[in-house]
C-alpha cells in the first residue's frame, strides 16, 4: 500500500480524499494556491505545500509544480480528484514517468475516451448503442447535409473535444446547418484548440443517466448501479440521485453490462462513469439508452452510489491503484435504499445565479439520521473568486426515495450560511415540486421549473414572526448584558454590534 498520497485538488473533494487516506493509514499531502492557504483541505491534510498563484493555470493545473512537490515530499501516488488535472492524459503520463502512481486509469485509456469521436469509434466496434450520427469529424457542409438528411432533423453538432456545452449547436432545419457548423467549429477551435465537430441526432430533453464502473488491474470490472443526473442548469448538474426513478432491475442490468463492455473496450481500470442519454417513448413508454461519453475519473456525485451500495469509492480507487483485486464480484453488489445529493453552490439563486464569493460569517450544518455532508468550507473561510463555486454536498439517504426526500427537506432548514449567497433555497423548491416527487425529470426540467413563477412561500405568520424577531434582536443588541443569567445566552457583545452602534444602526 502507498505511504503518502499527494492530493492534487482543493475544496470538498480534496477533503474527501484526505479522509479516505487517513482511514487507510496513508499520509496525505495537500497543495494550495496563494488564496487557499487557510482552505479546509490544508487544515485537514498531514502535509501541505504551496504551488503558486491563485490562477489555476499557475497552481492546480501546473503539472510541473505539482510533480515537483510530489517528488520533494516523497509521495508515492497522486489522487487528482475531479476537474483540474483529473482527465489530463499528459499528467497521468508524467506521473508514470516520474515513478509516481496516478490514481485513475492509464493515459492510454484516457486518450481513447478523451475525444468524443474516438470514443464513438470504440463503441461502434464494441457494439454499444449510441446516438445515431457520425463517428468522425465532419469534413464539409455537404457531408453534414447528407448525414443530417439521413437521420432526420433536429440534429446536434458537437465538438469532439467538447464539454460544458461549448462548440455545441442544436440545428432544427437544413437552412440553419451551414452557419451553425461554422459557428460550432470556430467556438470549438477557440475553446479547445481543436475545431473537430461531429453530428448526431438531437434528443430533446432526454434523461441523463450514468453508470458507475470499477475495474481493477487484474481484469475484473463491475458496475455499481446508475445515477440519475437530469437536474441541470447550463449543462451543470445540480442534484443527482441513485437509483434513477426510471430504471428497473432489468434495465439496470442491461445498462450495467453495456457500461462494463465500454470500460473493457478502453482497457479501463480504476473508477469511471459511463454516461447515457435515455429517452422514453411518450406512447409506448419504451426506454432507449445511448452511450454519450465516459468520464475517466471520480464524479462529484459519487456519494449517492456509496450510500446505496455501502461501498467507499475513494477507498477502492486507492486500493485498486495499489494493485489490489476488487474485494467483491458483481453478485455481491446490492443496491439498498435511495440517496439524493444537493450541490451547494456559492451563487445567488434569486439573482441570475450570479456567483457569490466572500467570507462565510456564520455556518450551521445539518446532521442526524440519513444525512451526510461533504463540505470544503468553514465559518470564517473566505470563498475565493478563482475556482468553481461548489461549497459542499448535502446528501440524504432513506429507505426509499420518499424518505430520502423528506430527510433532505428536514435537513435544509438546519443548514445556514451567512455572509454569502447560496442556492440552498432552490433545493427546497425542487424537493417540494410535484413533478420531481413523481420522478418526472429530464434535462429540461430545471429550466422549466425556474421559468414557472415561484409560489409565494412567505406566509404571513412567518413575516410577523420575522418582524418580532428583528425587534427582539434590536432590544438584545442594546443590552450591554443580553439576556443575562439566561441559559445559553451569547457572549457580551460582538464586534459588529459595536460597529453598528457607531454607525447609528441601533
Amino acid at each position: 500500500m502507498f505511504k503518502k498520497i499527494l492530493v492534487a485538488n482543493r475544496g470538498e473533494i480534496a477533503v474527501r480524499v484526505i479522509r479516505a487516506c487517513r482511514e487507510l493509514g496513508i499520509l496525505s499531502a495537500a497543495v494550495y494556491s496563494d488564496v487557499d492557504r487557510a482552505a479546509l483541505h490544508v487544515l485537514t491534510a498531514d502535509e501541505a505545500y504551496s504551488v503558486g498563484a491563485a490562477a489555476a493555470a499557475e497552481s492546480y493545473l501546473n503539472i510541473e509544480k505539482i510533480l515537483d512537490v510530489a517528488k520533494r515530499c516523497g509521495a508515492d501516488a497522486i489522487h487528482p480528484g475531479y476537474g483540474f488535472l483529473s482527465e489530463n492524459a499528459k499528467f497521468a503520463q508524467a506521473c508514470a514517468g516520474a515513478g509516481i502512481k496516478f490514481i485513475g486509469p492509464t493515459a492510454a485509456s484516457m486518450e481513447k475516451m478523451g475525444s468524443k469521436t474516438r470514443a464513438r469509434q470504440q463503441m461502434e466496434k464494441a457494439g454499444v448503442p449510441f446516438v445515431p450520427g457520425t463517428s468522425h469529424g465532419l469534413e464539409s457542409v455537404q457531408q453534414a447535409r447528407e448525414v443530417a438528411a439521413k437521420i432526420g432533423y433536429p440534429v446536434m453538432l458537437k465538438a469532439a473535444a467538447g464539454g460544458g456545452g461549448k462548440g455545441m449547436r442544436l440545428v432544427g432545419s437544413e437552412q440553419e446547418l451551414q452557419s451553425a457548423l461554422e459557428a460550432a467549429q470556430s467556438e470549438a477551435q477557440r475553446a479547445f484548440g481543436d475545431g473537430e465537430v461531429y453530428l448526431e441526432k438531437a434528443i430533446l430533453n432526454p434523461r441523463h443517466i450514468e453508470m458507475q464502473v470499477l475495474a481493477d488491474e487484474h481484469g475484473n470490472t463491475v458496475y455499481l448501479g446508475e445515477r440519475e443526473c437530469s437536474i441541470q442548469r447550463r449543462h451543470q448538474k445540480v442534484m443527482e440521485e441513485a437509483p434513477s426513478p426510471l430504471v428497473d432491475a432489468g434495465m439496470r442490468r442491461h445498462m450495467g453490462e453495456v457500461a462494463v463492455r465500454v470500460a473493457k473496450a478502453a482497457n479501463y481500470n480504476n473508477a469511471g462513469t459511463v454516461e447515457f442519454l435515455v429517452e422514453q417513448d411518450p406512447v409506448n413508454q419504451e426506454k432507449s439508452f445511448y452511450f454519450l461519453e465516459m468520464n475517466t475519473r471520480l464524479q462529484v456525485e459519487h456519494p449517492v452510489t456509496e450510500l446505496v451500495t455501502g461501498l467507499d469509492l475513494v477507498n477502492l480507487q486507492i486500493r485498486i491503484a495499489a494493485g489490489e483485486k476488487l474485494p467483491f464480484t458483481q453478485e455481491d453488489i446490492l443496491i439498498r435504499g435511495h440517496a439524493i445529493e444537493c450541490r451547494i453552490y456559492a451563487e445567488d439563486a434569486d439573482n441570475n445565479f450570479f456567483p457569490s464569493p466572500g467570507r462565510i460569517e456564520m455556518l450551521l450544518t445539518p446532521a442526524g439520521p440519513g444525512i451526510r455532508l461533504d463540505s470544503g468550507v468553514y465559518a470564517g473561510w473566505n470563498v475565493p473568486i478563482d475556482y468553481d463555486p461548489l461549497l459542499a454536498k448535502l446528501i440524504g439517504y432513506g429507505q426509499d426515495r420518499q424518505q430520502a426526500i423528506s430527510r433532505l427537506t428536514r435537513a435544509l432548514p438546519e443548514y445556514f450560511v451567512a455572509g454569502i449567497k447560496t442556492n440552498l433555497g432552490l433545493f427546497r423548491r425542487i424537493l417540494a415540486d410535484g413533478d420531481f416527487q413523481s420522478g418526472k425529470i429530464d434535462t429540461g426540467y430545471l429550466d422549466r421549473l425556474l421559468e414557472a413563477k415561484a409560489g409565494s412561500e412567505h406566509v404571513e405568520a412567518e413575516k410577523s414572526t420575522a418582524a418580532i424577531a428583528a425587534a427582539v434582536f434590536s432590544v438584545l443588541d442594546s443590552t450591554s448584558n443580553p439576556a443575562a443569567s439566561k441559559p445559553g445566552a451569547g457572549p457580551a457583545e460582538s464586534s459588529w454590534k459595536r460597529t453598528a452602534r457607531t454607525e447609528g444602526l441601533m
Binding site: N352, L364, P413, A418, A470, A471, V475, P482
Partner: protein, 167 residues
C-alpha cells in the same frame, strides 16, 4: 419601546419591552398583545416562542441590510425606532433616470456586448463578468441607451463597481 419594522415591504409597529430582572417580555403588535419569550442561543441565533409556536431565527447582516431567516426562508428587514433622528433612506423610483449597472460580485470583465451610445432593451446583456469559472451576463435594467462603459475589458472589479450607465 416602539419599533417600526419592515419585512419584505410589509410594515409592523411593535411595542416591545424586556424586564431584565425576570427575563419576561411584553410585546404588542399593532396594539394587540402577543405572548412571547425569547433568548439568544448563539450571537445571531434567537429562540423565540410566540404563543406556543417555537421559532429558531437567524439574523444575517449584509452590506445591503439585515436579513431575518425563519427556517430556510429569508426576509429583508429594516428596524427603526421612531425616536431615532436618523431618516430612513428614500428609495429611488426604479425605471426613471440614468441607471448604474454594478458588478454583483468580484470578477473580471470579459467583454462588453454593446458599445457606448448603443440602444439596449430591458433585459439585454451589456457586459460579461467572469467569476468562479462562470461567465455571467450583466443585463440592462431598462430600455434605453448605453451612456458610458465605465471599465475596460480585462479589468478586475469588485462587487459594487459601476460597469456601465444606461439612460
Amino acid at each position: 419601546m416602539i419599533y417600526d419594522v419592515t419585512i419584505d415591504g410589509s410594515s409592523y409597529r411593535l411595542d416591545l419591552n424586556l424586564d431584565r430582572a425576570t427575563g419576561r417580555w411584553r410585546c404588542l403588535v399593532g396594539g394587540r398583545e402577543v405572548e412571547i419569550d425569547a433568548v439568544l442561543a448563539q450571537p445571531e441565533v434567537l429562540s423565540i416562542l410566540i404563543e406556543g409556536k417555537a421559532w429558531q431565527i437567524r439574523r444575517e447582516r449584509l452590506a445591503s441590510g439585515l436579513r431575518i431567516w425563519v427556517g430556510d426562508h429569508s426576509y429583508g428587514a429594516e428596524v427603526s425606532d421612531p425616536r431615532s433622528l436618523r431618516n430612513r433612506k428614500v428609495r429611488g423610483d426604479a425605471g426613471k433616470g440614468p441607471r448604474h449597472l454594478v458588478a454583483p460580485m468580484p470578477g473580471k470583465v470579459v467583454r462588453f456586448l454593446v458599445g457606448e451610445n448603443s440602444p439596449v432593451e430591458a433585459g439585454q446583456g451589456v457586459v460579461v463578468v467572469e467569476a468562479m469559472k462562470m461567465q455571467n451576463e450583466i443585463k440592462s435594467p431598462k430600455k434605453g441607451t448605453v451612456l458610458k462603459l465605465s471599465v475596460s475589458e480585462g479589468a478586475a472589479v469588485i462587487a459594487g463597481d459601476v460597469l456601465a450607465i444606461v439612460e
